[in-house]
């Protein structure tokens, strides 16, 4: 047979063309283009913060226009605009161009891992606590504690919020946690009970003051509306419906669904909830509700959509979750039941005589900005980040352009109502999200030090008379509710403790998690849970608590 070597040509051509077709280009995001040398940032944020807002050269962080590549999560509700008004203003004001790499939040984790694994991080990047703990020790991020004198604004804010130091790694800060500056409109709220207040009135009931009273109220609901689901829930983002029920109700009922700090046990200590005696009360109560049809029979499998459908159609009458949803549900339900109302009510007393519930944490401890050690713009990146924690930086990154979008009145930034009006008049479904997106301000934008005043006060501004009154009444109720507590951050663990803890956690969760539904559904008598507790503590729950409590003592 005649051998035809020349047939190799098309095959080789295909490979060569594939390679030849690519023109070498500078990989975007892997290195910053124009850099400002360390000497070009002589004043860092101190000067920038002290200067006026006229964009004069004294506010510059760099002598020449410098670029900083920043990778952030891009949410669909408030898309990141690479040329938002604030970014343009910052460029003029600081002589720093922020190049935003907006990665969709749905894919952010994948991209982040690849960039970290290949050491191709942009100058500044958003990561979570788990990434911080995993990669900081490997030298991937700039050690901020070693640069303390260059970060006066940041460390001033940290000193005002000492709990944040718990997010350090081996006593050193490697990240700029996303932190909250106290502001007007920033009222405490959390995953609280929301109930059909119109039915409370209709059936001549009072808001339940204890969980036992809640049980009675739900029974009355069920008697009067036999086809309804008195209490429902949804699944969590990455957790099951069962876990969501426990995450929202275990602490108010006197225990916890995972490792948490319990002020009411032993004068305050870290406890792994499901391996503690008090957890039996949580399971007993939920089983009682389940057995009598008061808890949604589909509690373990409810999705967010199913939950919304049940709450909007009058099929379900109460939930423990984010209270903001009640307005959606109420408006939808009013088309079917014009008198329907949903309201939040105060923290109930549990069977241990405690009134307690978590409110959302003050800061965003799972959201961090880090400066890449491989960045060619470390000095500029640090200067910029410190500026953002200063007063002016925080004002601009949360309220927009001074004089255009907000004014400083008695030292407090106040958004112009004309700006709000323009966004409301635009008729979108989420004016405050549009505001944050277009202006490039607040939490959805690249803002490490967040002041939610602009968006939260705008929401209040949009409410009509009665809704505004109810909203204010809820806020006042929460402010007066002594049972609402901020969660306590986990103590910083050494690398060895962290690895051991994760190892134990996996073993213990394998024991307890499959048991929850059995007890809630009554497949096992509650007395048998003692054996589960025993197994969990032997498998490592006790050691996990010891690791946390020892680390907490060391931290203190």
């Amino acid at each position: 047979m005649k051998v035809k070597w020349k047939l190799l040509f098309p095959a080789i051509l295909s490979a060569v063309s594939m390679l030849g077709g690519c023109q070498p280009q500078e990989p975007a995001g892997s290195s910053a283009p124009v850099t400002s040398p360390a000497s070009s940032t002589p004043s860092t944020a101190g000067t920038a913060d002290a200067a006026g807002s006229d964009g004069s050269a004294s506010t510059y962080l760099s002598d020449t226009l410098a670029e900083l590549h920043v990778m952030c999560e891009d949410s669909a509700s408030a898309p990141l605009l690479v040329d938002s008004e604030t970014i343009k203003y910052v460029e003029e004001y600081l002589n720093v161009k922020i190049i935003l790499e907006a990665v969709p939040s749905a894919s952010y984790a994948d991209k982040k891992k690849v960039l970290i694994s290949t050491d191709n991080m942009p100058d500044i990047m958003k990561i979570n606590l788990s990434d911080l703990r995993q990669f900081a020790r490997e030298g991937m991020f700039v050690n901020l504690s070693e640069n303390k004198e260059r970060l006066p604004n940041f460390f001033t804010v940290l000193d005002q919020n000492p709990d944040i130091y718990k997010l350090s790694i081996d006593g050193e800060m490697f990240s700029f946690p996303t932190m909250r500056r106290p502001s007007a409109g920033d009222d405490p709220n959390g995953q609280q009970p929301v109930i059909r207040s119109d039915l409370i009135k209709e059936y001549g009931l009072e808001y339940p003051d204890s969980f036992e009273e809640l049980y009675e109220v739900l029974k009355v609901f069920k008697q009067n509306r036999p086809g309804s689901i008195p209490l429902t829930n949804r699944k969590g983002g990455n957790t099951s419906g069962t876990q969501k029920v426990l995450d929202t109700m275990a602490y108010p009922l006197g225990s916890g669904s995972k490792m948490y700090y319990d002020q009411d046990i032993g004068g305050g200590q870290y406890v792994y909830g499901p391996a503690h005696e008090n957890f039996k009360e949580v399971l007993r109560y939920l089983n009682q509700l389940y057995a009598e049809g008061l808890l949604d029979p589909d509690y373990a499998t409810n999705t967010s959509d199913i939950w919304k459908e049940k709450m909007s159609s009058g099929k379900a009458l109460m939930y423990f979750d984010n209270t903001g949803f009640r307005m959606d549900f109420e408006a939808a339900l009013k088309t079917l039941e014009p008198n329907a109302t949903y309201d939040v009510f105060p923290t109930m007393e549990n069977s241990f005589g405690q009134r307690r519930n978590f409110i959302f944490e003050q800061h965003w401890s799972n959201s961090h900005y880090v400066v890449a050690s491989s960045s060619e713009n470390i000095d500029l990146a640090l200067a910029y980040m410190d500026w953002s924690f200063g007063e002016q930086g925080c004002d601009i990154l949360n309220y927009g352009v001074p004089g255009v979008h907000f004014d400083k009145i008695n030292g407090v930034p106040v958004m112009k109502t004309s700006v709000w009006d323009a966004f409301i008049a635009a008729g979108s479904n989420g004016p405050s999200y549009d505001l944050q997106s277009k202006l490039g301000i607040g939490l959805p934008a690249f803002t490490p030090y967040v002041d939610v005043g602009a968006s939260e006060l705008m929401k209040n501004y949009m409410l009509d008379g009665e809704a505004a009154e109810r909203s204010e009444a809820t806020a006042a109720m929460n402010r007066a509710d002594t049972g609402l507590r901020r969660p306590v951050y986990d103590p910083p663990l050494s690398q060895e403790d962290n690895e051991r803890y994760n190892q134990l956690l996996s073993a213990v969760e394998n024991i307890v998690v499959p048991e929850f539904d059995k007890y809630i559904m009554g497949l096992e008598p509650i007395e048998n849970y003692d054996a589960v507790i025993e197994r969990a503590r032997t498998a490592g729950a006790q050691e996990m608590e010891d690791i946390f409590n020892r680390a907490n003592e060391a931290y203190q």
Binding site: K4, F9, A76, S77, P79, P104, S312, A331, T335, G430
Partner: protein, 293 residues
């Protein structure tokens, strides 16, 4: 002449029709449901009132969807990536399949084996990322179309199809002085339209639906394809409790539920529209590739 069927035969036909009707409904209803929820009032969708027909139909959801400028840019990008990507796929797949289909090609068994190995083993995400980066393709269209220039499975189907063409046809062309390029582009490809049309569909659908490599290799938002933007809307949702405050109950004409459906309709519609044009080649093309070896 009409042939009388037995009772058993008629019973079988009836059951068959009912069963296939049921299967068709099961297959079509989800798509139909997406369509009717996308044009229904958001409140009705939220309350679970939409089952067989749209409730208070309107195009508000599509108006909201299309108000987003990113979508048009992304649509254009997807279109470009799909066209360019499919062209490159076909070109390289044919260039690779042709020599492997010739019995006179020395070492084709070894090369085929090496190529088939890539169906089962790959370097993994990070090595591929580093290769793309070191070739300078990051944040360019080439990063999207070149790493997937050849799909081994599709290339083997094309090769098998080429193999079925009589050797004498090639030999007669060679006697007439045709070289391999002429034989490939003037003879082999024209007589393989069925399989190539099928490949167009396979490759185009895969490019149209792709989002992961685009997310990985593209950094500039204006280069994102449609799927990245829409997936983000699907996963993270678009609206919040604020919708109520903004305009009361009336603003509920669009909700996350209707938007999700609209996104799905918007994404699948273009590719569904392409299908009828290549459908006649589809079965024939796959059969050629799969049955003859």
């Amino acid at each position: 002449m009409k042939k009388n069927k037995s009772l058993g035969s008629r019973l079988f036909d009836s059951i068959n029709v009912i069963f296939l009707l049921f299967v068709s409904i099961v297959a079509v209803y989800p798509l139909y449901y997406m369509l009717i929820t996308s044009v229904s009032h958001g409140m009705a969708v939220m309350q679970g009132l939409v089952t067989f027909f749209p409730v208070n139909p309107s195009l508000d959801t599509f108006k909201i969807l299309l108000r987003n400028n990113d979508i048009f840019i992304a649509f254009k990008n997807s279109f470009v990536y799909t066209l360019l990507g499919t062209f490159i796929n076909l070109l390289f797949s044919c260039l690779c399949a042709y020599p492997l289909s010739r019995r006179t090609f020395s070492g084709r068994g070894f090369l085929t084996g090496m190529i088939v190995v890539t169906m089962f083993f790959s370097g993994g995400m990070i090595p591929l990322y580093l290769v793309v980066q070191s070739l300078g393709m990051m944040d360019t269209v080439w990063a999207v179309v070149l790493p997937v220039a050849i799909n081994t499975y599709n290339m083997i189907i094309i090769r098998t199809s080429f193999q079925a063409i009589p050797e004498s046809l090639v030999e007669s062309a060679q006697i007439d002085g045709a070289n391999d390029f002429v034989i490939l582009f003037r003879i082999i490809i024209p007589v393989s339209r069925a399989v190539l049309a099928t490949m167009v569909l396979f490759y185009a659908v895969s490019h149209w639906n792709s989002y992961f490599k685009e997310m990985l290799y593209l950094n500039t938002k204006s280069k994102y394809p449609l799927q990245i933007i829409l997936r983000n809307m699907l996963v993270s949702g678009l609206f919040s409790e604020e919708a109520t405050m903004a305009g009361g109950a009336s603003s509920f004409s669009v909700t996350d539920g209707t938007l999700r459906s609209a996104v799905i309709v918007f994404t699948t519609l273009p590719i569904i529209m392409v299908y009828p044009f290549v459908q006649k080649y589809f079965v024939k093309g796959v059969m050629i590739g799969s049955l003859k070896g």
